[in-house]
């Protein structure tokens, strides 16, 4: 590998770009998309500068100009040639900065192509020049180039912030979430390509074809065209943003509304029941109509008092739910169930978020390695990653990878586990301590089990149970791969549990659930869940939660905790089950989960009221936290006798005892005749002669005496 070969990797980046690059990599509140798009735009002037260099070098052949002076003249020339376009360019960059980076994001692919071609071009010319008499000067240039080149290579590694106790992490996380959210907010406007978008794309492609291959001459023109397009798209984005703002805006709605309708030329009309029937018969409305109608419904419902046109609120809601069902492909039952969990606008966000995949995350296995070392090893394999957030010091988020992340030698050697970010939460809440006895009731495929074993540093015992025998295979494989030596794997129905073995310090129940939190992972949930499924599941969950609570040892010195979690967002699988457990087992109480984010659980929901402490449980949503929908509740199990005697039971019990005393005693007088009767029956059965009835009293007297 010579110096030239190295140079071929890419043209030396000017210092300005390095600075920009670093800035982007710093965990600030910038979007991922922006980070990619920005250096691209800034690097172009740099290339042109080099172009200028070459021309000057050619233009003054005999003079051995000193490097510094040469550079100066280059700078000047570059400026005079490109001054106009550059100034324009910078303006465009600013614009797109201000108005959201969507345009830049969409540009990335094509710009990459351009850059690649340009690179090849410049490298060719480098090679030509290298053969000429000015090799010395070029070497100088290249040296400079290399020095600069190294920086961006090293940049990301140095900047990668693995310190768990750094404040920036949290900020970055929050920032990312926010940006994600805002992106999703204006998604409903963008999910279907509008006519203008399509046409602009077409025209661009056409113009590219016209230009043919890139040459030095048309390079500038092309880049200008690209910039112009970026500006156009930025404008389009601006328009869309404004529209969205109009939808969201509340104060000046009346004014906007009038303007809107005049602009659209038609007034929004909510279909009546008959019209909807007809629509269904005709094979459903087209997507654009549904989309527009949803937007209108959301707007009206958001400010119902001002905007209703003499129609009932339920009509709007019904229309919106049926539109959601048809637009996102849910069955009506599930669409309604999920819709009622959120305020109107947020519900749309939630459904939108379910269409987008969650980021790939991995958990470092602290039994084998450290996060810093793992990150370094994976970066060397071409994986682009970053710590998830401040709340965990073992999680890494993978942005892109050139190798399959589930088959690297590090993965096979058990240095990490592919695991959703939400799966960290119940284990963090449980926080098992070394030398405890812990139960994971529904454990396959072992992500949480191995996390617990790692937190306990391979001491104590973890019982990993799963009802499905086939799934225990992957569970066992993962337990062994990650080097957990304190795990006992068994396969029982969870409901058998306190009978098999009890007295655990901590128990985790990640209950089987409908999976409404992981719709982005498994879209079949949208259609295959019915009311009956929810009933059966919540029944099973209620049985399991009681068994799990009974398996916890209330006398445990270090623990006595129980964590209930599901990957579902519905209330009847979460709060209702927890409330049921609180009512059935008076010796348990909810405690704080120890997770500093997440929404509090509902204390009342659609006419049901739950125990006040249910607000201590935590809900996680895809559109808010950018992780799977999840629910975590943490219980503390206390000794049963104390609380029961001190509570209401004391009042009830004495009365019950009195009643029992009255009923339990034998009334020998009354029983006499029954005893007599059965005696006669027994005698007859033995074939003895039965004495006549009037002689009964002496016999019975003898019996009582004997008794």
């Amino acid at each position: 590998m010579g110096r030239r070969a190295k140079n071929k990797q890419g043209p030396p980046a000017p210092l300005a770009e390095v600075a920009g690059d670093n800035e982007a990599r710093r965990p600030s509140a910038k979007k991922l998309g922006k980070r990619k798009a920005e250096p691209e735009q800034e690097s172009r002037p740099g290339k042109k500068l080099r172009e200028g260099k070459e021309t000057t070098a050619k233009g003054s052949p005999k003079k051995s100009v000193s490097f510094a002076s040469q550079k100066k003249s280059e700078g000047k020339k570059g400026k005079t040639v490109n001054g106009k376009s550059e100034s324009k360019k910078s303006k465009v960059v600013e614009e797109s900065d201000g108005e959201g980076s969507c345009a830049g994001w969409e540009d990335v692919d094509e710009e990459d192509d351009v850059k690649a071609e340009a690179k090849a071009l410049f490298n060719d010319s480098d090679d030509d020049d290298a053969g000429s008499a000015y090799e010395g000067e070029w070497e100088e240039l290249e040296m400079e180039g290399e020095a600069e080149d190294d920086d961006p290579l090293r940049g990301p590694v140095e900047e990668l912030d693995l310190g768990s106790d750094d404040d920036d992490d949290a900020e970055a996380f929050v920032g990312k979430l926010k940006s994600r959210r805002s992106k999703q907010q204006d998604r409903p406007d963008k999910i279907i390509p509008t006519g203008s978008d399509a046409s602009s794309d077409d025209s661009d492609e056409g113009s590219e074809d016209e230009h043919g291959p890139i040459t030095m001459a048309n390079m500038e023109a092309r880049s200008r065209a690209l910039d112009a397009r970026a500006a156009r798209e930025a404008e389009l984005d601006m328009e869309e943003m404004q529209q969205a703002a109009q939808v969201d805006g509340e104060d000046d709605l009346d004014v906007d509304m009038d303007g809107d309708e005049e602009g659209d030329g038609e007034e929004f009309h909510l279909p009546t029941a008959e019209e909807r029937e007809e629509e269904k018969k005709a094979g459903g409305p087209d997507v654009h109509l549904v989309q527009r109608r949803m937007r209108e419904c959301v707007r009206v419902l958001g400010n119902f008092k001002k905007l209703n046109r003499g129609r009932a609120r339920t009509e709007y809601v019904d229309q919106l739910i049926s539109d959601i069902a048809s637009y996102y492909g849910y069955n009506d039952f599930l669409a309604e169930k999920l819709y009622h969990l959120f305020p109107v606008a947020e519900a749309i966000e939630f459904f939108e978020a379910n269409e987008v995949p969650r980021p790939v995350t991995i958990r470092t296995n602290t039994l084998r390695t450290r996060r810093r070392d793992l990150a370094q090893a994976l970066i060397n394999r071409g994986v682009n990653l970053e710590p998830i957030g401040k709340w965990t010091n073992v999680g890494l988020q993978v942005f892109e990878s050139s190798v399959p992340i589930g088959a690297t030698p590090e993965y096979l050697a058990g240095h990490y586990m592919l695991q959703a970010a939400s799966s960290f939460l119940p284990v963090i809440a449980l926080s098992p301590q070394p030398n405890e006895r812990v139960l994971d009731m529904a454990s396959a495929p072992g992500g949480k089990t191995t996390h617990m074993a790692a937190l306990m540093q391979n001491t104590g015992v973890v019982f990993a149970n799963d009802a499905n025998k086939a799934r225990t295979k992957s569970l066992t494989a993962n337990v062994h791969r990650l080097g957990c030596k304190n795990v006992v794997v068994c396969s029982y129905d969870g409901r058998e549990f306190p009978k098999v073995i009890g007295g655990f310090d901590r128990v985790l129940l990640d209950a089987p659930c409908s999976g409404t939190g992981i719709i982005s992972k498994d879209t079949s949930v949208k259609v295959n869940k019915t009311e009956r499924d929810f009933m059966l599941l919540s029944h099973l969950q209620k049985q399991l939660i009681l068994c799990a609570i009974d398996s916890v040892s209330p006398t445990s010195k270090t623990g006595g905790y129980f964590v209930y979690s599901t990957c579902s967002v519905t209330v009847d699988e979460n709060e209702a089950v927890v409330d049921y457990a609180l009512r059935k087992r008076p010796n348990v109480k909810l405690v704080e989960t120890g997770l500093e984010f997440g929404r509090p659980g509902f204390t009342s929901y659609r006419g049901k009221t739950f125990h006040q402490s249910v607000s201590m449980t935590r809900r996680f949503y895809p559109h808010v936290h950018n992780m799977d929908g999840f629910y975590v509740a943490k219980f503390k199990v206390e000794k049963p006798t104390k609380t029961r005697k001190a509570g209401k039971d004391e009042k009830v019990d004495p009365a019950a005892e009195v009643v029992e005393q009255e009923t339990i005693g034998f009334d020998s007088e009354e029983d006499k005749m029954y005893i007599e009767e059965s005696k006669r029956k027994a005698m007859r059965a033995k074939g003895l002669r039965v004495p006549p009835r009037n002689r009964a009293p002496p016999a019975s007297a003898a019996v009582t005496a004997a008794a």
């Binding site: 590090e410 096979l412 015992v461 066992t476 494989a477 062994h480 030596k485 029982y492 073995i501």
Partner: protein, 180 residues
């Protein structure tokens, strides 16, 4: 779940001794906690006694695994070490082989170690000796048996096999169904 019989322990220890030699004593007499070998459904598990006592409560048909699985007895009565034993083998191994990064993936796909892929090897390794295979950054990848002694390797051509493959961590993906 039951303790090993005399013959069974002999087979297991013979296999282990091929890799860790006298360090076998470290496995049996541990300073921290008493450990034991247990047989459950033809598989040999190495587990701390405390765990083992708790696992007694689990009925035989429901018990899937406990502690670390070392290997299994085949139907013909031989003992076969499995990849799950790698943790302990790597910890106590007497003879080690390091392979270069370009040899990692071929080995993880179940191929033998060629001379071209050899990075380092313990001095004076004899022929047919059990060795643990590491990557160059000391991640244990599997184990096998040497085909030649260290001295003989010098004059081999690059494609010659140096270590016969016995087990590698790729089996966690390839043989997940049959491993347990």
């Amino acid at each position: 779940m039951r303790p090993l019989t005399e013959e069974e322990s002999k087979l297991v220890f013979a296999k282990l001794a091929n890799f860790i030699g006298k360090n076998l004593i470290q496995l049996i007499d541990r300073p921290d906690e008493p450990y034991c070998f247990r047989l459950h459904r033809d598989r040999v598990y190495y587990v701390s006694e405390a765990s083992m006592r708790l696992a007694i409560s689990v009925a035989r048909p429901n018990l899937v695994s406990l502690g670390t699985c070392f290997g299994k007895f085949t139907k013909s009565g031989k003992f076969k070490l499995q990849i799950t034993a790698l943790d302990y083998l790597a910890q106590y191994a007497k003879y080690k082989v390091w392979i270069k990064p370009n040899g990692e993936m071929p080995f993880l796909y179940g191929n033998h170690v060629l001379k071209a892929h050899l990075g380092r090897i313990t001095e004076d390794t004899p022929e047919h000796q059990g060795v643990v295979v590491y990557s160059m950054n000391d991640i244990p990848l599997g184990f096998g048996v040497t085909a030649r002694s260290t001295v003989d390797t010098r004059k081999l051509d690059p494609t010659a096999i140096l270590v016969f493959h016995q087990a590698d961590v790729g089996e966690y993906l390839r043989d997940e169904e049959t491993l347990f």
